[in-house]
Protein backbone atom coordinates (compact mmCIF):
# COMPACT_ATOMS: atom_id res chain seq x y z
CA UNK A 1 0.00 0.00 0.00
CA UNK A 2 1.29 3.42 -0.95
CA UNK A 3 1.30 6.32 1.47
CA UNK A 4 -2.26 7.24 2.43
CA UNK A 5 -3.28 10.61 1.04
CA UNK A 6 -6.86 10.60 2.20
CA UNK A 7 -7.97 8.81 5.32
CA UNK A 8 -11.54 8.80 6.59
CA UNK A 9 -13.15 6.93 9.43
CA UNK A 10 -16.88 6.93 10.18
CA UNK A 11 -17.22 10.16 8.25
CA UNK A 12 -20.74 11.56 8.56
CA UNK A 13 -22.46 14.54 7.06
CA UNK A 14 -26.03 15.78 7.33
CA UNK A 15 -27.88 18.89 6.34
CA UNK A 16 -30.99 20.45 7.77
CA UNK A 17 -33.82 20.88 5.27
CA UNK A 18 -36.41 23.68 5.11
CA UNK A 19 -38.62 21.97 7.69
CA UNK A 20 -35.76 21.81 10.14
CA UNK A 21 -35.37 18.05 10.01
CA UNK A 22 -31.92 16.54 9.84
CA UNK A 23 -31.20 14.80 6.54
CA UNK A 24 -28.21 12.49 6.78
CA UNK A 25 -26.24 12.25 3.53
CA UNK A 26 -23.15 10.34 4.57
CA UNK A 27 -23.56 7.73 7.30
CA UNK A 28 -20.07 6.62 8.13
CA UNK A 29 -17.55 6.44 5.30
CA UNK A 30 -14.35 4.62 6.15
CA UNK A 31 -11.65 4.40 3.52
CA UNK A 32 -8.06 5.20 2.59
CA UNK A 33 -6.91 6.57 -0.71
CA UNK A 34 -3.21 6.37 -1.47
CA UNK A 35 -1.08 9.05 -3.06
CA UNK A 36 -1.04 8.62 -6.84
CA UNK A 37 -4.10 6.39 -7.00
CA UNK A 38 -6.76 6.66 -9.72
CA UNK A 39 -10.09 6.10 -8.04
CA UNK A 40 -13.61 6.20 -9.44
CA UNK A 41 -16.43 6.86 -7.02
CA UNK A 42 -19.75 5.49 -8.28
CA UNK A 43 -23.25 6.02 -7.01
CA UNK A 44 -26.67 7.01 -8.26
CA UNK A 45 -28.04 10.53 -7.81
CA UNK A 46 -28.42 11.41 -4.16
CA UNK A 47 -26.14 8.61 -2.97
CA UNK A 48 -23.81 11.11 -1.31
CA UNK A 49 -20.90 10.78 -3.72
CA UNK A 50 -20.72 14.50 -4.53
CA UNK A 51 -21.04 15.39 -0.87
CA UNK A 52 -18.08 13.14 -0.17
CA UNK A 53 -16.05 15.00 -2.79
CA UNK A 54 -16.97 18.38 -1.34
CA UNK A 55 -15.80 17.29 2.12
CA UNK A 56 -12.36 16.51 0.76
CA UNK A 57 -11.45 20.12 0.13
CA UNK A 58 -13.54 21.63 2.86
CA UNK A 59 -16.27 23.25 0.80
CA UNK A 60 -18.48 21.72 3.46
CA UNK A 61 -17.48 20.55 6.92
CA UNK A 62 -18.05 17.03 8.24
CA UNK A 63 -20.47 16.44 11.07
CA UNK A 64 -18.52 13.70 12.78
CA UNK A 65 -15.81 11.16 12.11
CA UNK A 66 -12.20 11.42 11.06
CA UNK A 67 -11.00 13.12 7.91
CA UNK A 68 -7.31 13.46 7.14
CA UNK A 69 -6.24 14.88 3.78
CA UNK A 70 -2.59 15.37 2.81
CA UNK A 71 -1.48 14.82 6.38
CA UNK A 72 -3.84 17.42 7.80
CA UNK A 73 -6.57 16.53 10.21
CA UNK A 74 -9.55 18.44 8.86
CA UNK A 75 -11.73 17.78 11.88
CA UNK A 76 -9.31 19.39 14.32
CA UNK A 77 -10.40 22.61 15.93
CA UNK A 78 -7.06 24.32 15.35
CA UNK A 79 -7.41 24.68 11.58
CA UNK A 80 -6.69 28.21 10.44
CA UNK A 81 -7.91 29.92 7.30
CA UNK A 82 -4.42 29.48 5.85
CA UNK A 83 -4.82 25.70 6.21
CA UNK A 84 -7.97 25.86 4.09
CA UNK A 85 -6.20 27.65 1.29
CA UNK A 86 -3.21 25.32 1.51
CA UNK A 87 -5.59 22.37 1.25
CA UNK A 88 -7.51 23.81 -1.69
CA UNK A 89 -4.24 24.45 -3.48
CA UNK A 90 -3.31 20.83 -3.01
CA UNK A 91 -6.71 19.29 -3.77
CA UNK A 92 -8.19 20.82 -6.92
CA UNK A 93 -11.74 20.28 -8.03
CA UNK A 94 -13.32 20.25 -11.48
CA UNK A 95 -17.09 20.65 -11.51
CA UNK A 96 -19.86 19.39 -13.73
CA UNK A 97 -20.87 22.52 -15.62
CA UNK A 98 -17.90 23.90 -17.56
CA UNK A 99 -19.59 27.31 -17.92
CA UNK A 100 -20.00 27.86 -14.22
CA UNK A 101 -16.38 27.49 -13.21
CA UNK A 102 -14.57 29.72 -15.68
CA UNK A 103 -14.13 33.18 -14.25
CA UNK A 104 -12.30 35.17 -16.90
CA UNK A 105 -13.13 36.13 -20.46
CA UNK A 106 -9.81 34.90 -21.88
CA UNK A 107 -8.55 31.35 -21.47
CA UNK A 108 -5.10 32.17 -20.10
CA UNK A 109 -6.47 34.81 -17.73
CA UNK A 110 -8.79 32.19 -16.35
CA UNK A 111 -5.98 29.70 -15.87
CA UNK A 112 -4.03 32.42 -14.07
CA UNK A 113 -6.88 33.02 -11.60
CA UNK A 114 -5.68 30.46 -9.02
CA UNK A 115 -2.03 31.53 -8.72
CA UNK A 116 -3.14 35.18 -8.77
CA UNK A 117 -5.23 34.47 -5.70
CA UNK A 118 -2.26 32.76 -4.09
CA UNK A 119 -0.11 35.83 -4.65
CA UNK A 120 2.44 34.14 -6.92
CA UNK A 121 4.84 36.64 -8.60
CA UNK A 122 3.72 37.63 -12.14
CA UNK A 123 6.65 36.08 -14.00
CA UNK A 124 6.14 32.74 -12.34
CA UNK A 125 2.39 32.84 -13.04
CA UNK A 126 3.17 33.35 -16.74
CA UNK A 127 5.50 30.33 -16.79
CA UNK A 128 3.07 28.14 -14.86
CA UNK A 129 0.09 29.13 -17.03
CA UNK A 130 2.00 28.32 -20.22
CA UNK A 131 3.08 24.96 -18.79
CA UNK A 132 -0.43 24.08 -17.61
CA UNK A 133 -1.99 24.95 -20.96
CA UNK A 134 0.64 22.87 -22.73
CA UNK A 135 -0.09 19.91 -20.44
CA UNK A 136 -3.79 19.88 -21.31
CA UNK A 137 -3.04 20.61 -24.98
CA UNK A 138 -4.77 24.01 -25.08
CA UNK A 139 -1.77 26.24 -25.86
CA UNK A 140 -3.17 27.38 -29.19
CA UNK A 141 -6.38 28.53 -27.50
CA UNK A 142 -4.60 30.65 -24.86
CA UNK A 143 -6.06 33.93 -26.13
CA UNK A 144 -9.51 32.58 -26.98
CA UNK A 145 -12.78 33.35 -25.22
CA UNK A 146 -14.04 30.42 -23.16
CA UNK A 147 -17.61 30.64 -24.44
CA UNK A 148 -16.43 29.86 -27.96
CA UNK A 149 -14.78 26.58 -26.94
CA UNK A 150 -16.40 23.14 -26.97
CA UNK A 151 -17.45 21.50 -23.71
CA UNK A 152 -14.43 19.21 -23.65
CA UNK A 153 -12.09 22.11 -24.31
CA UNK A 154 -13.69 24.15 -21.52
CA UNK A 155 -13.19 21.30 -19.08
CA UNK A 156 -9.56 21.00 -20.16
CA UNK A 157 -9.16 24.71 -19.44
CA UNK A 158 -10.75 24.13 -16.03
CA UNK A 159 -8.25 21.32 -15.42
CA UNK A 160 -5.41 23.64 -16.44
CA UNK A 161 -6.78 26.18 -13.96
CA UNK A 162 -6.34 23.56 -11.23
CA UNK A 163 -2.99 22.22 -12.48
CA UNK A 164 -1.48 25.68 -12.40
CA UNK A 165 -1.76 25.60 -8.60
CA UNK A 166 0.43 22.47 -8.64
CA UNK A 167 -1.99 20.19 -6.82
CA UNK A 168 -1.24 16.64 -5.69
CA UNK A 169 -4.84 15.55 -6.16
CA UNK A 170 -7.59 16.36 -8.64
CA UNK A 171 -11.24 15.60 -7.93
CA UNK A 172 -13.57 15.42 -10.91
CA UNK A 173 -17.11 16.00 -9.64
CA UNK A 174 -19.04 14.52 -12.58
CA UNK A 175 -16.83 16.60 -14.81
CA UNK A 176 -17.81 14.62 -17.90
CA UNK A 177 -21.56 14.45 -17.25
CA UNK A 178 -22.44 17.35 -19.53
CA UNK A 179 -20.05 16.45 -22.35
CA UNK A 180 -20.56 14.60 -25.60
CA UNK A 181 -18.62 11.34 -26.11
CA UNK A 182 -15.74 13.12 -27.87
CA UNK A 183 -15.44 15.71 -25.09
CA UNK A 184 -15.62 12.99 -22.46
CA UNK A 185 -12.77 11.14 -24.11
CA UNK A 186 -10.65 14.33 -24.26
CA UNK A 187 -11.12 15.00 -20.56
CA UNK A 188 -10.54 11.42 -19.43
CA UNK A 189 -7.41 11.03 -21.48
CA UNK A 190 -6.05 14.31 -20.10
CA UNK A 191 -6.68 13.25 -16.54
CA UNK A 192 -5.29 9.77 -17.07
CA UNK A 193 -2.09 11.24 -18.48
CA UNK A 194 -1.76 13.47 -15.40
CA UNK A 195 -2.18 10.47 -13.16
CA UNK A 196 0.31 8.38 -15.13
CA UNK A 197 2.98 10.98 -15.82
CA UNK A 198 2.81 13.34 -12.87
CA UNK A 199 1.59 10.90 -10.26
CA UNK A 200 -1.36 13.12 -9.39
CA UNK A 201 -4.03 11.39 -7.34
CA UNK A 202 -7.28 11.36 -9.32
CA UNK A 203 -10.68 10.91 -7.74
CA UNK A 204 -13.38 10.75 -10.36
CA UNK A 205 -16.96 11.04 -9.15
CA UNK A 206 -19.10 9.63 -11.93
CA UNK A 207 -22.03 7.54 -12.95
CA UNK A 208 -20.56 6.46 -16.25
CA UNK A 209 -19.64 2.81 -15.90
CA UNK A 210 -17.22 2.83 -18.80
CA UNK A 211 -15.32 5.67 -17.17
CA UNK A 212 -15.16 3.86 -13.87
CA UNK A 213 -13.88 0.76 -15.66
CA UNK A 214 -10.72 2.64 -16.62
CA UNK A 215 -9.80 3.48 -13.02
CA UNK A 216 -7.45 1.46 -10.82
CA UNK A 217 -10.03 1.21 -8.09
CA UNK A 218 -13.79 1.64 -7.89
CA UNK A 219 -15.65 2.70 -4.77
CA UNK A 220 -19.43 2.36 -4.80
CA UNK A 221 -21.39 4.59 -2.45
CA UNK A 222 -25.05 3.95 -1.81
CA UNK A 223 -27.23 5.76 0.68
CA UNK A 224 -24.22 7.34 2.36
CA UNK A 225 -22.13 4.23 2.95
CA UNK A 226 -19.44 2.44 0.96
CA UNK A 227 -20.97 -0.80 -0.29
CA UNK A 228 -18.22 -1.97 -2.64
CA UNK A 229 -14.54 -1.17 -2.94
CA UNK A 230 -12.08 -2.92 -5.22
CA UNK A 231 -10.66 -3.12 -8.72
CA UNK A 232 -13.15 -2.55 -11.54
CA UNK A 233 -13.00 -6.27 -12.27
CA UNK A 234 -13.96 -7.18 -8.71
CA UNK A 235 -16.74 -4.63 -8.49
CA UNK A 236 -18.30 -5.39 -11.85
CA UNK A 237 -18.28 -9.12 -11.21
CA UNK A 238 -21.25 -8.55 -8.88
CA UNK A 239 -23.89 -7.05 -11.13
CA UNK A 240 -26.74 -7.87 -8.71
CA UNK A 241 -25.18 -5.84 -5.93
CA UNK A 242 -24.63 -2.95 -8.29
CA UNK A 243 -28.19 -3.20 -9.50
CA UNK A 244 -29.43 -2.85 -5.92
CA UNK A 245 -27.41 0.36 -5.63
CA UNK A 246 -29.26 1.68 -8.67
CA UNK A 247 -26.30 1.20 -11.00
CA UNK A 248 -25.60 -0.78 -14.11
CA UNK A 249 -22.51 -2.73 -15.00
CA UNK A 250 -20.65 -1.74 -18.19
CA UNK A 251 -22.39 -3.11 -21.27
CA UNK A 252 -19.64 -5.62 -22.05
CA UNK A 253 -19.71 -7.01 -18.52
CA UNK A 254 -23.46 -7.48 -18.61
CA UNK A 255 -23.14 -9.16 -22.00
CA UNK A 256 -20.71 -11.70 -20.59
CA UNK A 257 -22.97 -12.32 -17.60
CA UNK A 258 -25.96 -12.82 -19.87
CA UNK A 259 -24.03 -15.27 -22.08
CA UNK A 260 -22.83 -17.18 -19.05
CA UNK A 261 -26.40 -17.44 -17.77
CA UNK A 262 -27.32 -18.99 -21.12
CA UNK A 263 -24.67 -21.63 -20.57
CA UNK A 264 -21.82 -20.25 -22.71
CA UNK A 265 -18.53 -21.11 -21.04
CA UNK A 266 -16.71 -17.83 -20.48
CA UNK A 267 -14.22 -17.21 -17.76
CA UNK A 268 -13.04 -13.87 -16.45
CA UNK A 269 -14.87 -10.59 -16.08
CA UNK A 270 -13.91 -8.19 -18.84
CA UNK A 271 -14.38 -4.50 -18.16
CA UNK A 272 -13.32 -3.05 -21.50
CA UNK A 273 -14.78 -3.72 -24.93
CA UNK A 274 -11.45 -5.13 -26.21
CA UNK A 275 -11.18 -7.66 -23.39
CA UNK A 276 -14.76 -8.67 -23.96
CA UNK A 277 -14.26 -9.16 -27.69
CA UNK A 278 -11.16 -11.25 -27.06
CA UNK A 279 -12.96 -13.43 -24.54
CA UNK A 280 -15.87 -14.12 -26.87
CA UNK A 281 -13.50 -14.88 -29.77
CA UNK A 282 -11.67 -17.39 -27.63
CA UNK A 283 -14.93 -19.02 -26.61
CA UNK A 284 -15.99 -19.28 -30.26
CA UNK A 285 -12.71 -20.92 -31.28
CA UNK A 286 -13.09 -23.71 -28.76
Amino acid sequence: MREAFIHTKDLCYAYTDENGTRQPVLRGITLDIARGEYVAVLGHNGSGKSTFAKLLNMIIEPESGELVVAGKNLTSEELTEEDFYALRREVGMVFQNPDNQLVATIVEEDVAFGPENLGVPPKEIRARVDAALATVGMTEYARHEPHRLSGGQKQRVAIAGILVMEPTCIILDEATAMLDPAGRKEVIETVEALNREKGITVISITHHMNEAARAERVIVIDDGVVIMDGTPREVFSEPKKLMLAGLDVPQCTSLVHALRAEGVALDGDPVTAEECAELICRALEV
Binding site: N57, I59, Y85, R88, R89, G92, M93, F95, N97, D99, N100, Q101, L102, V103, A104, T105, I106, E108, E109, A112, F113, G114, P115, E116, N117, L118, G119, V120, P121, P122, I125, R126, V129, R143, E145, P146, H147, R148, G161, I162, M165
Partner: protein, 270 residues
Protein backbone atom coordinates in the same frame (compact mmCIF):
# COMPACT_ATOMS: atom_id res chain seq x y z
CA UNK B 1 -26.45 34.50 -30.41
CA UNK B 2 -22.82 33.56 -29.94
CA UNK B 3 -21.56 36.45 -32.03
CA UNK B 4 -22.98 39.39 -30.18
CA UNK B 5 -21.06 42.54 -30.92
CA UNK B 6 -21.53 44.11 -27.50
CA UNK B 7 -18.21 44.62 -25.79
CA UNK B 8 -16.48 42.08 -27.93
CA UNK B 9 -12.75 42.16 -28.22
CA UNK B 10 -11.25 41.92 -31.70
CA UNK B 11 -7.84 40.25 -31.50
CA UNK B 12 -5.19 41.88 -33.72
CA UNK B 13 -1.70 43.27 -33.45
CA UNK B 14 -1.77 47.02 -33.48
CA UNK B 15 -0.34 49.91 -31.48
CA UNK B 16 -3.80 50.40 -30.01
CA UNK B 17 -3.91 46.80 -28.83
CA UNK B 18 -0.55 47.04 -27.12
CA UNK B 19 -1.27 50.28 -25.29
CA UNK B 20 -1.87 50.28 -21.57
CA UNK B 21 -5.60 49.95 -20.91
CA UNK B 22 -5.46 52.66 -18.24
CA UNK B 23 -4.14 55.11 -20.81
CA UNK B 24 -6.85 54.02 -23.23
CA UNK B 25 -9.52 54.79 -20.63
CA UNK B 26 -7.99 58.24 -20.07
CA UNK B 27 -7.65 58.82 -23.81
CA UNK B 28 -11.23 57.83 -24.55
CA UNK B 29 -12.45 60.31 -21.92
CA UNK B 30 -10.29 62.99 -23.53
CA UNK B 31 -11.61 61.99 -26.93
CA UNK B 32 -15.19 62.43 -25.77
CA UNK B 33 -14.26 65.87 -24.44
CA UNK B 34 -12.62 66.66 -27.79
CA UNK B 35 -15.79 65.62 -29.64
CA UNK B 36 -17.75 68.17 -27.61
CA UNK B 37 -15.17 70.90 -28.16
CA UNK B 38 -15.93 71.02 -31.87
CA UNK B 39 -17.84 74.07 -33.02
CA UNK B 40 -16.95 74.69 -36.65
CA UNK B 41 -17.12 72.69 -39.86
CA UNK B 42 -13.31 72.29 -40.15
CA UNK B 43 -13.18 71.04 -36.56
CA UNK B 44 -15.85 68.44 -37.31
CA UNK B 45 -13.97 67.43 -40.45
CA UNK B 46 -10.83 66.96 -38.35
CA UNK B 47 -12.82 64.94 -35.82
CA UNK B 48 -14.17 62.66 -38.53
CA UNK B 49 -10.67 62.30 -39.97
CA UNK B 50 -9.33 61.38 -36.54
CA UNK B 51 -11.90 58.57 -36.28
CA UNK B 52 -10.72 57.20 -39.63
CA UNK B 53 -7.10 57.41 -38.45
CA UNK B 54 -8.02 55.53 -35.26
CA UNK B 55 -9.78 52.87 -37.30
CA UNK B 56 -6.71 52.43 -39.53
CA UNK B 57 -4.39 52.33 -36.52
CA UNK B 58 -6.47 49.67 -34.79
CA UNK B 59 -6.33 47.31 -37.81
CA UNK B 60 -9.91 46.23 -37.22
CA UNK B 61 -11.95 45.59 -40.37
CA UNK B 62 -14.22 48.66 -40.81
CA UNK B 63 -17.35 46.55 -41.26
CA UNK B 64 -16.91 45.17 -37.72
CA UNK B 65 -16.80 48.64 -36.21
CA UNK B 66 -19.67 49.78 -38.43
CA UNK B 67 -21.70 46.94 -37.00
CA UNK B 68 -21.50 48.60 -33.59
CA UNK B 69 -23.45 51.54 -35.02
CA UNK B 70 -26.41 49.44 -36.04
CA UNK B 71 -28.23 49.29 -32.69
CA UNK B 72 -28.00 53.08 -32.43
CA UNK B 73 -29.18 53.71 -35.96
CA UNK B 74 -32.65 54.76 -34.86
CA UNK B 75 -31.36 57.21 -32.26
CA UNK B 76 -28.97 58.69 -34.81
CA UNK B 77 -31.69 59.28 -37.39
CA UNK B 78 -34.06 60.62 -34.75
CA UNK B 79 -31.47 63.07 -33.41
CA UNK B 80 -30.57 64.20 -36.92
CA UNK B 81 -34.23 64.82 -37.82
CA UNK B 82 -34.89 66.72 -34.60
CA UNK B 83 -31.91 68.96 -35.31
CA UNK B 84 -32.93 69.39 -38.91
CA UNK B 85 -36.47 70.55 -38.21
CA UNK B 86 -36.32 72.21 -34.87
CA UNK B 87 -33.17 74.25 -34.74
CA UNK B 88 -33.79 77.88 -35.47
CA UNK B 89 -31.66 79.99 -37.73
CA UNK B 90 -31.59 82.93 -40.05
CA UNK B 91 -31.07 81.52 -43.54
CA UNK B 92 -34.13 79.66 -44.78
CA UNK B 93 -33.29 76.74 -47.01
CA UNK B 94 -36.85 75.85 -47.87
CA UNK B 95 -40.19 75.71 -46.15
CA UNK B 96 -43.42 73.91 -46.79
CA UNK B 97 -46.64 73.65 -44.80
CA UNK B 98 -45.64 74.61 -41.28
CA UNK B 99 -42.09 73.37 -41.39
CA UNK B 100 -39.17 75.60 -42.15
CA UNK B 101 -35.74 74.10 -42.65
CA UNK B 102 -32.84 76.44 -42.05
CA UNK B 103 -29.32 76.04 -43.38
CA UNK B 104 -28.16 76.08 -39.75
CA UNK B 105 -30.47 73.15 -39.10
CA UNK B 106 -28.81 71.10 -41.83
CA UNK B 107 -25.42 71.93 -40.39
CA UNK B 108 -26.39 71.04 -36.86
CA UNK B 109 -27.96 67.77 -38.03
CA UNK B 110 -24.80 66.78 -39.88
CA UNK B 111 -22.60 67.85 -36.95
CA UNK B 112 -24.68 65.90 -34.50
CA UNK B 113 -24.48 62.79 -36.68
CA UNK B 114 -20.72 63.15 -36.98
CA UNK B 115 -20.43 63.62 -33.23
CA UNK B 116 -22.46 60.51 -32.41
CA UNK B 117 -20.66 58.36 -34.97
CA UNK B 118 -17.27 59.54 -33.77
CA UNK B 119 -18.17 59.05 -30.12
CA UNK B 120 -19.22 55.46 -30.76
CA UNK B 121 -16.24 54.81 -33.01
CA UNK B 122 -13.76 56.37 -30.64
CA UNK B 123 -14.90 54.71 -27.45
CA UNK B 124 -15.49 51.33 -29.06
CA UNK B 125 -12.08 51.35 -30.76
CA UNK B 126 -10.28 52.49 -27.63
CA UNK B 127 -12.19 50.41 -25.16
CA UNK B 128 -14.12 47.45 -26.46
CA UNK B 129 -12.40 46.35 -29.65
CA UNK B 130 -8.75 46.73 -28.73
CA UNK B 131 -9.01 46.08 -25.00
CA UNK B 132 -10.08 42.78 -23.50
CA UNK B 133 -12.84 43.14 -20.93
CA UNK B 134 -10.48 41.88 -18.26
CA UNK B 135 -7.86 44.49 -19.17
CA UNK B 136 -10.61 47.05 -19.03
CA UNK B 137 -11.84 46.05 -15.59
CA UNK B 138 -8.24 45.85 -14.37
CA UNK B 139 -7.68 49.34 -15.72
CA UNK B 140 -10.78 50.65 -13.98
CA UNK B 141 -9.70 48.92 -10.79
CA UNK B 142 -6.29 50.52 -11.05
CA UNK B 143 -7.65 53.97 -11.91
CA UNK B 144 -10.15 53.82 -9.07
CA UNK B 145 -7.69 52.38 -6.55
CA UNK B 146 -7.16 55.74 -4.80
CA UNK B 147 -10.80 55.38 -3.66
CA UNK B 148 -9.69 52.49 -1.48
CA UNK B 149 -8.63 55.06 1.06
CA UNK B 150 -12.31 55.87 1.44
CA UNK B 151 -12.89 52.14 2.13
CA UNK B 152 -14.74 51.64 -1.14
CA UNK B 153 -14.67 48.00 -2.37
CA UNK B 154 -12.82 48.73 -5.60
CA UNK B 155 -11.53 45.19 -6.17
CA UNK B 156 -14.94 43.64 -5.56
CA UNK B 157 -16.53 46.11 -7.95
CA UNK B 158 -14.02 45.26 -10.69
CA UNK B 159 -14.50 41.54 -10.06
CA UNK B 160 -18.26 41.90 -10.36
CA UNK B 161 -17.87 43.75 -13.62
CA UNK B 162 -15.59 41.18 -15.14
CA UNK B 163 -17.84 38.31 -14.08
CA UNK B 164 -20.84 40.12 -15.54
CA UNK B 165 -18.94 40.50 -18.82
CA UNK B 166 -17.89 36.87 -18.74
CA UNK B 167 -21.49 35.70 -18.32
CA UNK B 168 -23.20 37.89 -20.92
CA UNK B 169 -22.72 35.38 -23.77
CA UNK B 170 -23.57 32.45 -21.49
CA UNK B 171 -26.83 34.05 -20.36
CA UNK B 172 -27.69 35.08 -23.92
CA UNK B 173 -27.36 31.49 -24.99
CA UNK B 174 -29.45 30.39 -22.05
CA UNK B 175 -32.14 32.95 -22.89
CA UNK B 176 -32.47 31.63 -26.41
CA UNK B 177 -32.64 28.07 -25.08
CA UNK B 178 -35.41 28.97 -22.63
CA UNK B 179 -37.27 30.88 -25.36
CA UNK B 180 -37.16 27.85 -27.60
CA UNK B 181 -38.30 25.62 -24.77
CA UNK B 182 -41.23 27.94 -24.02
CA UNK B 183 -42.08 28.24 -27.70
CA UNK B 184 -42.23 24.47 -27.85
CA UNK B 185 -44.80 24.67 -25.04
CA UNK B 186 -46.85 27.10 -27.10
CA UNK B 187 -45.85 30.48 -25.66
CA UNK B 188 -46.31 33.18 -28.27
CA UNK B 189 -43.72 35.95 -28.07
CA UNK B 190 -44.36 37.74 -31.31
CA UNK B 191 -48.02 38.71 -31.40
CA UNK B 192 -50.41 40.75 -29.31
CA UNK B 193 -50.14 44.16 -27.77
CA UNK B 194 -47.39 45.53 -25.60
CA UNK B 195 -48.84 44.22 -22.34
CA UNK B 196 -49.43 40.76 -23.75
CA UNK B 197 -45.87 40.59 -25.03
CA UNK B 198 -44.45 41.84 -21.76
CA UNK B 199 -46.44 39.15 -19.98
CA UNK B 200 -45.03 36.56 -22.34
CA UNK B 201 -41.56 37.47 -21.10
CA UNK B 202 -42.32 36.32 -17.57
CA UNK B 203 -41.88 32.62 -18.40
CA UNK B 204 -38.43 33.50 -19.78
CA UNK B 205 -37.27 35.74 -16.97
CA UNK B 206 -38.18 33.48 -14.10
CA UNK B 207 -36.22 30.41 -15.27
CA UNK B 208 -33.39 32.73 -16.28
CA UNK B 209 -33.19 34.31 -12.83
CA UNK B 210 -33.42 30.95 -11.08
CA UNK B 211 -30.66 29.50 -13.20
CA UNK B 212 -28.51 32.60 -12.70
CA UNK B 213 -28.68 32.07 -8.96
CA UNK B 214 -27.66 28.45 -9.41
CA UNK B 215 -24.79 29.51 -11.64
CA UNK B 216 -23.69 32.16 -9.15
CA UNK B 217 -23.68 29.58 -6.40
CA UNK B 218 -21.59 27.13 -8.42
CA UNK B 219 -19.23 29.85 -9.58
CA UNK B 220 -18.69 31.00 -6.02
CA UNK B 221 -17.84 27.46 -5.04
CA UNK B 222 -15.43 27.05 -7.96
CA UNK B 223 -13.78 30.36 -7.07
CA UNK B 224 -13.39 29.28 -3.46
CA UNK B 225 -11.81 26.06 -4.64
CA UNK B 226 -9.31 28.14 -6.52
CA UNK B 227 -8.36 29.97 -3.34
CA UNK B 228 -10.18 33.22 -4.07
CA UNK B 229 -10.34 35.47 -1.02
CA UNK B 230 -10.93 38.96 -2.33
CA UNK B 231 -8.33 41.45 -3.40
CA UNK B 232 -6.03 40.96 -0.43
CA UNK B 233 -2.56 39.68 -1.33
CA UNK B 234 -3.59 39.08 -4.91
CA UNK B 235 -1.08 39.38 -7.76
CA UNK B 236 -1.65 39.71 -11.49
CA UNK B 237 -0.21 37.67 -14.31
CA UNK B 238 0.13 40.71 -16.53
CA UNK B 239 1.24 43.81 -14.73
CA UNK B 240 0.27 46.86 -16.76
CA UNK B 241 3.13 49.19 -17.54
CA UNK B 242 3.03 52.59 -19.19
CA UNK B 243 5.37 52.68 -22.14
CA UNK B 244 6.70 55.42 -24.43
CA UNK B 245 3.88 54.58 -26.82
CA UNK B 246 1.28 55.54 -24.19
CA UNK B 247 2.84 58.94 -23.61
CA UNK B 248 3.19 59.56 -27.35
CA UNK B 249 -0.52 58.77 -27.72
CA UNK B 250 -1.36 61.13 -24.87
CA UNK B 251 0.74 63.89 -26.49
CA UNK B 252 -1.11 63.30 -29.79
CA UNK B 253 -4.47 63.48 -28.05
CA UNK B 254 -3.61 66.78 -26.33
CA UNK B 255 -2.27 68.18 -29.62
CA UNK B 256 -5.47 67.03 -31.32
CA UNK B 257 -7.59 68.86 -28.76
CA UNK B 258 -5.51 71.98 -29.34
CA UNK B 259 -5.97 71.65 -33.09
CA UNK B 260 -9.74 71.39 -32.68
CA UNK B 261 -9.80 74.57 -30.59
CA UNK B 262 -7.70 76.29 -33.24
CA UNK B 263 -10.00 75.08 -36.03
CA UNK B 264 -13.02 76.39 -34.13
CA UNK B 265 -11.71 79.83 -35.07
CA UNK B 266 -12.44 79.21 -38.75
CA UNK B 267 -16.13 79.62 -39.21
CA UNK B 268 -16.71 79.50 -42.93
CA UNK B 269 -20.10 78.38 -44.07
CA UNK B 270 -21.70 79.50 -40.83
Amino acid sequence: MKNIAFGQYYPARSPLHTMDARMKVVLSVLYIVAAFLCKSAPAYAALLASAVVLLLLSRIPPRIVLRSLRPLFFIMIFTALLNLFFSGGTTVLFSFWRITVYVEGVYSAVFMLVRIVVLIFGTSIFLTYTTTPIELTDAIESLLSPLRILKLPVHEFAMMMSIALRFIPTLMEETSKIMNAQKARGVDFSSGGLIKRAKALVPILIPLIVSSFRRADELAMAMECRCYRGGKGRTKMTVPKLSVLDFVALAFMVAFGGTLLYLNGFRFGL
